[in-house]
């Protein structure tokens, strides 16, 4: 199935790039299940690209290793006291809550962003964050 292979190639490229750049036509053909969600999520993640990268701290902290880590725990990143003290552990559920409305979920956070309001977009975004965390951009250097 050449269409499938092309899609898998694109997915790998998106994960490798970390910052997913616009790729027209990618969303046109129907792709199956999880891969499609991750691809859609990569596109939602473009909204975060002013502040975040997978493998580097920028205005916001790196996202490699996000699922399962304690909020506010990337060493050396200047978190808000609110985030540092939050006692949140990032799971699908806690991410869903935070990303829906960051300033309501965590008053005092310095992530001054209204949130991703659409439930499906959030699900796709979190699927992307999970997949990208296991992708090439997040592998420790050999």
């Amino acid at each position: 199935m050449p269409a499938f292979r092309r899609r898998a190639g694109l997915l790998a490229a998106l994960l490798a790039a970390g910052l997913a750049f616009a790729s027209q036509g990618a969303g046109t053909a129907a792709a199956s299940g999880a891969d499609a969600a991750v691809e859609r999520g990569a596109r939602v993640y473009e909204r975060c690209a002013a502040c975040h990268a997978l493998d580097a701290d920028r205005t916001g902290p790196r996202h490699c290793g996000l699922l399962g880590r304690r909020a506010g725990s990337v060493p050396g990143f200047p978190y808000s006291p609110a985030m540092r003290r939050s006692r949140i552990v990032w799971t699908e559920a806690s991410l869903d809550r935070f990303l829906k409305a960051p300033l309501q979920a965590l008053p005092g956070t310095s992530m001054g962003y209204d949130g991703v309001k659409d439930e499906r977009e959030r699900r796709d975004l979190i699927a992307y964050l999970r997949a990208a965390g296991q992708g090439p951009r997040c592998k420790p250097p050999e």
Partner: protein, 192 residues
Amino acid sequence: MKPAVDIGSIVHAIPRRAFIAHSGLLLSGAAVALLSGRDALAAKAGHGAESDLRILNTALGAELEAIAAYQVGAESGLLQKPALDLALTFQGHHKQHAELLSGTIAKLGGKPVSARDKYAFPVDTLKTQVDVLRFAAGLEKGAVSAYLGAIPVFGNRDLAKAAGSILGDEAMHWAILRNAVGDVPVPEAFVS
């Protein structure tokens, strides 16, 4: 499939008038309104002032990074005129945004963040002029999303308006950069 990008088309895509240099700091109406009178600003700030300051400082951090990113692009040796002039013009806009933001933060009694010593740009992936322009386009797109996400959470409506003013400028950068690499300049009716 979209056509392969050729450098000639890039030159065509950027009209001369796209980078007429601006001398000095020309501030928009929204910017002027912000910079006038600390009292007016402070009076409207109300109880959301602390939160607004955090939002402004996060935006300032991103603007300072954008300035540094265009600097890396300009010094990469990968950009030829007219793309180089375009990058420098856009960098100049980001400098003005940063100045407005830090001035506003100071007026509101906050402490503006300063630029980092070091930024982690994915320089290993930037090999051609098109790579650099696409990278810049991605940052500008992200910046548009960031300001869009800031507008509803500002307590002070004047700050939301200023964010809208910056958003418009960065959306224009995004469209021009897309055009320059041969992508559809304005792909959708809405930004998100």
